[in-house]
Symmetry: C2
DNA sequence: CCGGTCGGATACAGGAACGTATTCGATACA
DNA sequence: TGTATCGAATACGTTCCTGTATCCGACCGG
């Protein structure tokens, strides 16, 4: 049964990925070594090279897996939102994309890495679009329930993502300053209202 | 004359910093080595260790120097703005902080690095505040000339920085898409109007 | 119960980068 | 011009990491 064999492979592969997440977060991707990842995962380098051909490959695999999972989480969180309470819905949607320190570090480095690797740039861009498209409809319908019409969906989507990314850094840089989070919330609200208009009753 | 001696030191120090900028941009800070920097600068490792004690130290020095210079450039650009044409002033102010590929990569990595190094976190946060404080008055006065009053300056400052950072990534990720730049501009405008109100004539 | 295959462990050699201790040349000053 | 000093070059030993080639055990099908 080939599936069982694959199952074993998949498990060590997964453990390597999980270990890498922490190593990259702690040391930075650039400063991480194959050995560190293996030590943390409880494997030898032999196992590593039997699963990946290089750290770069693992890095890509890790980023794709985690960002896809995060996208799913966001989708789930958004799906569970009560659209009859639009105010709360918006608030919940904003909270759905948490500001995670370790993950931010990894994506920041990966984005930088992608910007100097043409092939990867498109991968990142595509995932960013996917996130935008997943988030957008929730806000559009929530705003709709509030009697507001989104004027330019694409623009709103980009704006939300940009605001999320930009404010995340600020929040992380000043963990003691609770005001940063508040201003973040406010900025989201302002953008939402700036990109929508009260719908005239037909 | 001690100054002459210092002058020599300063020159090689500067050449090392310049070389490091390119190496870091090309390879990423994490993947860069002392040797690469020295090769590019035309020095040996001996010269390096006579000027810096580690790559980390150079990285910090480089970032401080360049970000301070960038801050000065922004100040200069803003100083040359004609406040009698507020619309153009705002536009010019937005353009004053250019979206530079190589520099973005370096700051992204440095920020990530700073987030895992407590001492550096404050340094980055402080510089970010300085940038905010330098930019803010220009927008406030420009809005003033347009008859608008800024409601919460701190919030506006943070929002502008966040929008700048967040949209910069998008612009860099999609260099072919001219729309990204346009939406960036629009988002700035929207934020400016969201954080200010028409001033009633007293 | 037995051979075959798959996957992780082991072992090896090579190379890359580090940091230091020392040398050598150039520059400043008397 | 001679000399002291400063700064970059050289040379060294060491550590760490890489990647591959091989081995061994476990699980599979028959």
């Amino acid at each position: 049964m080939a599936a069982t064999v694959t199952k074993r492979r998949a498990r060590t592969r997964q453990r390597l990925l999980d270990a890498a997440l922490h190593v990259f977060a702690d040391e930075g991707f650039g400063r991480s070594t194959v050995e560190q990842v293996c030590d943390r995962a409880g494997f030898t380098r032999g196992a590593f090279y039997s699963n990946f051909s290089s750290l770069d490959e693992l890095f890509l695999a890790l980023w794709e897996e985690r960002s896809a999972r995060m996208l799913d989480d966001v989708r789930d969180a958004l799906a569970g939102i009560d659209p009859d309470d639009p105010e709360a819905a918006v608030r919940a949607a904003i909270d759905a994309t948490p500001v995670d320190d370790a993950w931010y570090r990894i994506t920041a480095e990966f984005t930088a890495h992608a910007l100097r690797t043409p092939g990867l740039r498109r991968v990142v861009a595509a995932r960013e679009e996917a996130i935008r498209d997943a988030i957008l409809p929730v806000f559009v319908t929530a705003l709709g329930r509030l009697g507001r019409q989104v004027t330019d969906e694409r623009a709103l989507g980009d704006a939300l993502v940009a605001v999320h990314d930009g404010t995340a850094v600020q929040v992380l840089l000043q963990p003691e300053d609770e005001g940063a989070r508040t201003r973040r919330q406010a900025l989201f609200m302002n953008v939402l209202s700036a990109y929508s208009t009260p719908r005239e009753i037909s």
